[in-house]
């Protein structure tokens, strides 16, 4: 069974259609790169998956469980949405780290708050928090930030901040990790360190959806590539296939414009 199934997703803002008839599957352990020009709906699609936008039509299923169904208001209740979100992790273009907390606290905060809902929280509080801290440290170490756990976001470079943000998303153990142009806000010399971390995650078979403008990266790291234009999926297939031998005219035009500019 597919890890993620998206069926006929549609989203409009007023009379503007941003997403139309979006359907695709993603298998466990696979990574999907979404490419397309600005305004093609890539980011909106990710935001719909993370319940930051409510689609007007369609369904979202994870491991066969219906998380969202536009026709079933019961799936859209605030209290339930909060838990369902945790199937997805989100890494934002602008990091969105919490400035008042250290790198480690950024990673552990949500987990600590969630742990308060556990029945044994009061009894085992110390032990639970200790475990969360350990996990957080391990994640920062994995991101190559072991020495930075007590730094505040403003004391870190953009690349380091984004790696903290990735650790923060991983801490909630999401089924599917989403990246929204994770390197677009970075100086060119800092993109490498972030892409390296994402490549590492792909090698560990993390299920991922990556919205990106880095074509070479998409080709080399992702299993699948999905090209969007004007709110619809134009082409989808194996990464190398789509980027090196696109079948659709619109994909060809987009990629050749990209090749000219880079």
């Amino acid at each position: 069974m597919a890890m993620l199934q998206v069926q006929n997703l549609e989203k409009h803002f007023g009379s503007t259609r941003v997403l139309e008839n979006i359907s695709f599957d993603l298998q466990e352990g696979q990574s999907l790169a979404i490419i397309g020009s600005s305004g093609s709906g890539k980011t909106t699609l990710l935001r719909c998956l993370n319940f930051l936008e409510t689609p007007n039509q369609g369904k979202i299923l994870v491991k066969g469980e219906t998380l969202f169904d536009a026709d079933d208001p019961a799936t859209q209740r605030e209290s339930e949405v909060r838990k369902k979100r945790l199937h997805f992790g989100m890494v934002f273009q602008s990091f969105n780290l919490f400035p008042q907390y250290t790198a480690l606290k950024n990673v552990t905060l949500a987990k600590e708050l969630l742990a308060q809902e556990r029945k044994d929280y009061k009894q085992n509080k110390k032990q639970i928090l200790e475990e969360i801290q350990q996990e957080g440290r391990k994640l920062l170490e994995q991101m190559g930030l072991a020495q930075r756990e007590n730094h505040y976001p403003h004391q870190l470079s953009g690349g380091q901040q984004q790696r903290v943000a990735i650790a923060r998303a991983l801490a909630m153990q999401p089924d599917i990790l989403c990246f929204d142009e994770p390197t677009s806000a970075l100086d060119p010399e800092l993109t490498g360190e972030v892409l390296k971390v994402i490549r590492g995650l792909a090698q560990q078979k993390t299920t991922m959806i990556i919205v990106t403008h880095e074509m070479a990266f998409a080709r080399d790291v992702a299993d699948q590539v999905l090209f969007m234009d004007g709110g619809v999926i134009v082409e989808r297939g194996a990464a190398r296939q789509v980027i090196e031998h696109p079948q659709e005219e619109r994909t060809r035009q987009f990629l050749s414009r990209y090749a000219e500019n880079s």
């Binding site: 319940f51 930051l52 919490f98 400035p99 708050l113 505040y152 403003h154 923060r168 998303a169």
Partner: protein
Amino acid sequence: MFLTVIGALNEGFLQTLKLFGVTLLGALPLGLVVMFGSICGFTPLRWLTRTVVWIIRGTPLMLQLIIIFYIPGKLLDASPWPSGEDGRFMAACVAFIINYACYFSEIYRGGVQGVPVGQQEAGQVLGMTKRQIFFHITLLQMVKRIVPPMSNEIITLVKDTSITRIISMQEIIWAGYAFLKTSHGYSGLLWPLFFTGVYYLIFSGLLTLLFGWIEKKLGYFR
């Protein structure tokens, strides 16, 4: 003579401080309520709140004070305020709390709206509740943003208390002025009036230090 003057000024300044304290206690939370009204999704309430804020900010506090102190008595035959200094003090508190709540509400609004939406979204995707997001993420960032404008407003409040003299509340300027007229066996004594400035200076100096300390405390993040 000096001790007599200082004693009288101290008494006046105590009244000034009481008004200052009560105004803050009332206006700081009331400002939050007014702010929620002015960003409320329910349009009639939003417009009503914004109109009130416009009127309060658009007219002199001194005029508001006169209206609140005298007009109810004119309309109701009997003044709702107790007679004497207590009544004057209560009317002053009401006028000041309403006035300052409106100013604070706008500062709060700026603080809340200045926290990037991305902060809230980051909390949401991590499964936090709205409450957790407000208390663990938004609040401190908002407080940090509003400290400089709030310190400005609060220092203005210290000196605005002097306009309660218009309804003869016995604050420190009133106490100093009394020596110029006839009181405590003196008349035509000018320096106590100017000496009240020292009280204001010292008090606002202490507040400046306090706010500087708060700003420094919150300076560990950006």
